[in-house]
């Protein structure tokens, strides 16, 4: 089975992705949503909360399991995808699109993230 790993994103080993720029989007990868299975619940920070790279920022639950979400970047949350509270299955259906979770305004440029090739190799 092969999973989508878009070239223009960067990745954490714990399967979160982020876009490039000063204000970035954050979500989980296609591989992660497939591993979790049917996603039924998300606990996400609120607008204005601070994220610290590498720390847990929320919780995602599938029918069978509970997992922490880890921040790929440090900064302030400027938008939360509230659509996910009613339709958590969007993370399964479209993990890089409608299944995005947060927008974050970076404190500093992110470092130590994997590029698409390195992440693809990790999940191979």
């Amino acid at each position: 089975m092969s999973f989508e790993v878009p070239d223009d994103l960067r990745y954490l080993e714990s399967h979160e992705w982020t876009t490039d720029g000063d204000v970035v989007k954050v979500g989980i990868t296609d591989f992660a949503q497939d591993e979790l299975g049917d996603i039924v619940f998300l606990e996400l920070p609120a607008d204005g909360d601070e994220l610290s790279a590498g720390d847990a920022f929320g919780v995602i639950e599938s029918i069978k399991a509970v997992s922490d979400l880890y921040a790929p970047v440090s900064g302030e949350v400027v938008a939360v995808n509230e659509e996910l509270f009613d339709r958590p299955e969007l993370v399964n259906d479209d993990p890089y699109g409608d299944g995005w979770m947060l927008e974050v305004e970076l404190d500093e440029p992110s470092s130590d993230l994997l590029d698409a090739d390195a992440y693809a190799e990790q999940i191979a």
């Binding site: 049917d38 039924v40 619940f41 029918i63 069978k64 509970v66 509270f85």
Partner: protein, 387 residues
Amino acid sequence: MTERSPPLHGVHEDRGAKFTDFGGWAMPVTFDSIREEHAAVRERVGRFDVSHMGEIEVAGPDATALLNRLTTNDVSALSPGDSQYAAITTEEGVMLDDTIIYRLPDGTPAGEAVNAIEGMTNGNLGEPDGDPAYLFVPNAGHDEETYDRVVTHRDEWGLEAAVENTTTGWAMIAVQGPDAESAVDAAVTAGDAAALPRFDATVADVAGVPSWVARTGYTGEDGFEIVCPADAAEAVWAAFEDVQPCGLGARDTLRTEMGFLLSGQDFDPDDEPRTPDEAGIGFAVDLDTAFIGRDALAEQRDAGLTERFIGVRLLDRGVPRGGYAVTDGDLTRIGHLTSGTMSPTLEEPIGLGYLHVDHAVDGAEVAVVVRGDEKRAEVVEPPFLDR
């Protein structure tokens, strides 16, 4: 520990199943998605490979007496082709496992049921004057300790019965759902398994394979469990090729909606020691039989319960899980959960666990502690679905 594999492992791998370790067995947890598989069983029909279930065969002049002293129900009430749910308890009445006991055709030699059922057709269930014979089904990973327990007690009590652990000789395939009868009818090549009343069992050929077919299951739907020789499992599985394959993930959500116990999780001799009455299966206890644990259970029945097994439905957002505390909504602990999930049928968060009897009342308001927060919940007497 070396992981045990069901005979269909390769077939499931080719079908793209995801696997999980369950009781020491590498079993499929999903084939497509829990939601799809769950819906197939509730609305149509699904098939499960449950070959992780153990099989112990007991036969001989004292087979009935032996099993009657080791299980909580009245084994002497069974005729060939009957099945019975029971618990296996310690002297203290603590459940080691729960099991289904099938009475096989009389005269079936222990360890030979695979061969003995070959050639039998429906209506010819063995020799009428043969010794009683039983097949019973411990849960995954319990077959060896259960076998040892039966043999040790047989010897201690000086009873005459042969006991064999035939877990690796059998595969077990469950076909469950409102359309299970027509699916089984289409797959049966000899015998009349599709006409079985609920909880009865018989010998029938499925796709030409002599099998022990029972109208039993663990989903709350109508359905069948087919015990067939391990080396012929592929043919039996393939006979249901149009039926949705389902993994242990859907098996768990289906049984949770019904409030059925999961051995090792909703009760466990070490981590969750419970009596059958606490676990809500007092109906499977016959105090008129002299089984191990009988006196302790009689005493508990006189004294009354402190906690009992019941369901909760979360009213706030969240998902209840095994291990979460249950409070009165005001920080006083009144019990805990042992199972929980988002119900695919109801699309509601549901859990099962043990609550103090004062709170274990249908409709009572309680709270489930999710990551430190009390979430409002309502007590529900299972099943969560009408079936």
